[in-house]
């Protein structure tokens, strides 16, 4: 077993090493640090996942102090899945950066990327509310830096917007934490869960729940707090958009569901939240219809999908959670793939305008095939994994007797099909006579992700049974989480 503390310590050491290595003129080495660190995180998170499958939730106290007084890590199955996704995203992004920018990126970029990994891992593994806030801040600050990395006006604008909105979110989160602390006298998540279970009528608890809804809603890109997302995804470098859409948004969702399922389970107005989230999805999908910029389009599409994922976690059923986790995995892989491929297109055409991409599918068949598979998966067509995600979600929805949400999901899928197939139409319609050289890095990275997506499409029921069902079950049984820290 890998000590989960290492998952946080190693990126931290990596982040310190980068400027050190640069200072002693080993800049060549420093470029590989992100790659190595994220590979380590990926492997150890997978190992940790299997370990947790056998032992149940793993509680690690840091520096020997037991939970009420010390800080502890709570390694859950879902947390491991999120770390796997995050480290995969960072790995793929760094792999892509290694090839696509021979001289760049600079140290700052690498440090920020590694801090993103660190923060996300921390959020997913921590068992302490205040720790979560600290990690959230680390992640957010790294994300602000990365989204403003392209110094071309739009990047700075987006970064600034993100900074404003994100810091408001952090403030709300902090306020929520403070309010909870005044009532429960502890910051340990398991303790808080135990406390809030019997004190849900306490108006202060309810008020802090609202603070968390707003704060985490901003971080997890949940409607109606996700206005900043399209700007950021559009302006960030392609490999970073890939991490944002694929992994960081999932970390935000993790924080949201950890707090709302484990701590505030059973707060009132669940129904209102469900409809709010779904209407938000519908609006985001509708907004995607009008986008002329491909990155912005997929940003809106992400918002739509995130709405469904959150909806699945609001279902209060183990099979709903399972569907949500499956969807989350599927969406993470597809969005990483798509943004990486967009990076490849951008290198060739130096534009992200959809209209200018006419005919590239015919000029570069491999890119066309990869993109088409990505789009078909996103659109939820069989035999790809997106279909199974939709299937599991609809099944859970109907078993919960939600009929109108199911119709909203179906309508949103229809809108999705409209803009996604319009993209295929653009890609394969005549145009663009001259041949472009698409970066092999983007295609090679795409291949890795396509293999994962196809793997998920071939054995969806196995994945559901072996991984998502188990993770959902451990999320559903709150007592398991609480018991760990008695």
């Amino acid at each position: 077993m890998v000590n989960p503390v290492l998952l946080i310590a190693v990126p931290l050491i990596g982040a310190f090493l980068i400027p050190l290595l640069s200072a002693v003129r080993l800049k060549v080495l420093s470029r590989y640090i992100v790659f190595i660190t994220s590979s380590f995180s990926l492997v150890s998170a997978i190992l940790l996942f299997y370990h947790v499958t056998y032992t149940g939730i793993l509680s690690v106290s840091i520096a020997g102090f037991k939970p009420p007084f010390g800080i502890n890590l709570e390694v859950t199955l879902l947390g491991c899945i999120i770390v796997v996704l995050l480290s995969l995203g960072v790995l793929i992004s760094s792999f892509y950066n290694l090839f696509i920018y021979p001289s760049e990126p600079e140290d700052k970029f690498n440090i920020a990327l590694i801090l993103l990994l660190l923060g996300g891992t921390g959020i997913s593994l921590t068992g302490d509310m205040f720790n979560m806030f600290v990690f959230l801040e680390i992640t957010s600050i790294a994300a602000y830096i990365l989204s403003a990395y392209k110094r071309n006006g739009t990047g700075e604008e987006a970064g600034l917007k993100y900074l404003f909105i994100g810091s408001i979110g952090s403030l709300f989160f902090l306020l929520g934490v403070i309010l909870l602390y005044t009532q429960a006298g502890s910051l340990n998540i398991a303790r808080l869960a135990q406390y809030s279970a019997s004190h849900l009528n306490n108006p202060v608890i309810l008020f802090s729940a609202i603070m968390f809804i707003v704060g985490l809603g901003i971080e997890a890109e949940i409607f109606p707090f996700n206005w900043w997302v399209p700007d950021v995804y559009q302006a960030a470098p392609d490999s970073i958009s890939s991490v944002f859409a694929g992994a960081i948004s999932k970390v935000g969702i993790y924080a949201f569901i950890r707090i709302f399922i484990t701590v505030f389970n059973g707060i009132p107005y669940y129904e209102a939240l469900i409809y709010l989230v779904l209407v938000g999805s519908l609006i985001a999908e509708g907004a995607a219809l009008f986008q002329k910029d491909i990155k912005r389009l997929f940003a809106y599409s992400s918002l739509g999908q995130i709405g469904f994922i959150v909806f699945a976690f609001l279902l209060k059923r183990a099979d709903g959670y399972s569907a949500g986790i499956f969807m989350l995995l599927n969406h993470a892989l597809v969005k990483m793939l798509i943004f990486i491929l967009i990076g490849g297109i951008f290198v060739a055409l130096s534009t992200t305008e959809i209209e200018k991409m006419k005919g590239i599918g015919r000029k570069s068949p491999i890119l066309g095939i990869l993109f088409t598979i990505g789009i078909l998966t996103l659109a939820g067509l069989p035999p790809f994994s997106g279909f199974y995600a939709k299937l599991f979600l609809l099944k859970a929805t109907f078993q919960h007797n939600y009929f109108i949400p199911a119709i909203i999901i179906i309508v949103a899928s229809l809108i999705e099909a409209f803009y996604l197939f319009r993209l295929i139409y653009i890609f394969y319609s005549p145009g663009h006579e001259k041949k472009h050289s698409f970066s092999t890095a983007s295609l090679a990275t795409g291949f890795i992700l396509i293999i994962l997506i196809l793997g998920m499409s071939i054995i969806p029921f196995h994945i559901k049974k072996q991984y998502t069902d188990k993770a959902a079950k451990s999320l559903f049984m709150r007592s398991l989480y609480i018991k760990e820290v008695k």
Binding site: I165, I168, F207, V214, P268, L381, A417, Y428, H462
Partner: protein
């Protein structure tokens, strides 16, 4: 020898992969491989000593069941029998590797669809078929726009099917097909019928068909229109039968027909009529056939909607007839387009001497289309009309009859504009279509005539289906069909029909012994010298007088209506987008505060209560 449906599907996918690999190296040997493998697959499906066994497997709480019912066996024969004939026609067009790959995948998913006996695998394979079919439609660059409409309509159908399936699941807590479906409401019936109406291109949802049929690859159009559209009638029978005709009757009856069926019959009749009108006004040969296909599938819907055993027999019989003649017509036309490189009717004319075999097969095809003996088209029209008369649906009959009249007109236009009249000067050097086009069309026209003489042979299979669905069978022998309203002898009527023509021909030889061939220009110019003989061909706007009559009908366009509806939705989304995602940080901060306040107030009100 025994094997399961799973094996059959895997073998077909394997055949597709092999063909694709061979085609990658050499186009011609790839085509031949495709042909041989498809003949092998057809043999496997047809040979009685091979038993195709059911298969079912369970993963988690999902059970997938595949089994061939009598109904699906009929469609299996239809699909696997037509497949090699269509593949044969592709040989001279030398398509690329992925063309064959997708073609085989379509066959595999079609067989998966017709053998699924649970809702989920039905949906899975049905969507798969739509997807692969789309990928094959956009094989031609020109079809990319038509393909977009095709896949979007397919997805609308698919999502409607999915919702319907989940509605049934909601009621019965199971994806298996059971009597629980009976509890379903009008909504379920609508949701579960819409995808098949789309697939059959019934009138309000036909908008994908004309352009897709026109733009897609010429030989694939034959399969798409002739064969794949029949999945629609399969799906309708599959789901409606499960409801049970008696279950449907519980919702009321009109003229002794369940009201839902009556609506379907009217949709079919209107489709048949308007489709035929559009067909006779088309200036493009593939578009003409496309509208003709829409129109003919309307007849099938009429037969289906009557919901009597005679009606369903007529629907299934016409399914067979239409599959054969429409596949054949599209293959013949594909051969002509292959030689002429144009689809415009105005650029054809006078090809009868250059392409005699194509002419002959097309003639048989349009005779079958018109429903005249000695082809099997007569039997299917006979059954549908008998079903209409049996229930005394005279208004419906009148509309269907008008559609048949229009069918005569466009069938005549087809043969006149392509083959008759003086030869265009630009077509002087045209040769007969290559053999790969002629052989399948000859085989198919042979079937059309043969079943015209022996109409009872297909009816025997159809009777088996009707009995397996618990309906009365139609009394028949090899050569006769008899219904409650009378009957006919196919051998006799066809023989009489042919002998009348023979007698007239002999009389002509006897009465006008001095008749001689004149140059066809003479009949037009009355002996004057004419230099530009191309002007003599009268083919563009052939039915101008009807164009004037139907002017209003042509102007009406469902597409515009859909565009307007979409426009309204787009406007709504645009307003929502501009309100919410406006890009102004100040606004966002205010909105966050506002939303938070709303939450707080609502929580407070809730908490105080």
């Amino acid at each position: 020898m025994n094997f399961t449906i799973g094996h059959l599907i895997l073998v077909i996918v394997g055949a597709g992969i092999i063909t694709a690999i061979v085609t990658k190296f050499n186009r011609l040997s790839g085509s031949i491989t495709a042909l041989l493998l498809s003949i092998g697959i057809a043999f496997v499906c047809f040979y009685p000593a091979f038993h195709i066994l059911p298969i079912s497997f369970t993963t988690g709480d999902y059970t997938f069941i595949f089994n061939l019912s009598t109904l699906s066996r009929f469609f299996l024969m239809l699909f696997s029998g037509m497949f090699p004939l269509v593949i044969m026609a592709t040989v001279s067009t030398k398509p690329k590797a992925h063309y064959y790959f997708f073609f085989y995948l379509i066959l595999a998913s079609v067989i998966g669809t017709i053998s699924s006996q649970d809702l989920l695998s039905f949906f899975f394979f049905f969507e798969l078929m739509t997807l692969f079919s789309y990928l094959l439609v956009i094989y031609k660059k020109r079809a990319i726009k038509a393909g977009l409409v095709y896949i979007l309509m397919g997805i609308i159908g698919g999502l409607s099917l999915l919702l319907g399936i989940f509605y049934v699941f909601w009621l019965s807590k199971d994806f298996r097909i059971s009597v629980e479906i009976l509890k379903g409401s009008y909504a379920t019936l609508f949701l579960l019928s819409l995808p098949f109406l789309i697939k059959m291109a019934a009138m309000p949802v036909h908008i994908w068909a004309p352009d897709t049929y026109k733009e897609s690859e010429d030989v694939y159009t034959a399969f798409l229109s002739g064969v794949l559209s029949k999945l629609g009638i399969y799906g309708l029978i599959f789901f409606w039968f499960t409801w049970g005709i008696y279950g449907l009757s519980a919702w009321g009856k009109v003229f002794d027909v369940p009201v839902t069926g009556y609506i379907i019959a009217w949709i079919g009749a209107i489709t048949a009529f308007i489709g035929a009108v559009y067909a006779l006004l088309s200036e493009d040969v593939k578009k003409l056939l496309a509208y003709s296909s829409i129109s003919q599938l309307g007849y099938i819907l009429v037969g289906f909607g009557i919901m009597s055993s005679l009606g369903w027999a007529g629907a299934l019989y016409h399914t067979l007839t239409h599959t054969i003649f429409k596949t054949m017509l599209f293959i013949v036309v594909a051969g002509i387009i292959f030689r002429l490189n144009t689809t415009k009717l105005s650029e054809m004319g006078g090809l009868i001497k250059k392409m005699p075999v194509s002419f002959l097969t097309l003639l048989v095809g349009i005779i079958a289309l018109a429903g005249v003996p000695p082809t099997m088209g007569f039997a299917s029209k006979y059954l549908i009309y008998s079903a209409l008369f049996e229930k005394k649906l005279f208004l419906l009959t009148a509309v269907v009859f008008a559609a048949s009249t229009a069918a005569f007109l466009y069938a005549y236009r087809l043969i006149h504009n392509i083959f008759l009249g003086p030869l265009k000067t630009s077509l002087k050097n045209t040769k007969e279509a290559p053999l790969p086009f002629l052989i399948p069309s000859l085989i198919l026209s042979l079937f059309l005539v043969m079943f015209g003489f022996f109409p009872g042979v297909p009816l025997e299979w159809i009777n088996n289906i009707l009995m397996s669905l618990g309906m009365k069978s139609i009394a028949s022998t090899f050569t006769t069909i008899s219904t409650s309203l009378g009957g006919f002898n196919g051998l006799l009527s066809s023989s009489i029909f042919i002998s009348i023509f023979g007698i007239i021909f002999i009389l002509y030889l006897i009465l006008f012994p001095k008749a001689k061939w004149v140059n066809d220009k003479n009949t037009f110019t009355a002996g004057e010298v004419m230099h530009n003989t191309d002007l003599l061909t009268y083919s563009s706007h052939f039915y101008r007088f009807l164009e004037r009559e139907f002017g209003l009908l042509i102007k009406l366009s469902v597409k515009k209506l859909y565009d307007n509806i979409l426009g309204i939705f787009e406007w709504m989304f645009d307003v929502a987008r501009k309100l919410l995602y406006h890009g102004n940080v100040n606004g966002y901060v205010w909105a966050i505060i506002l939303v938070t306040l709303t939450f707080v107030i609502s929580f407070l009100i809730g908490g105080l209560r």
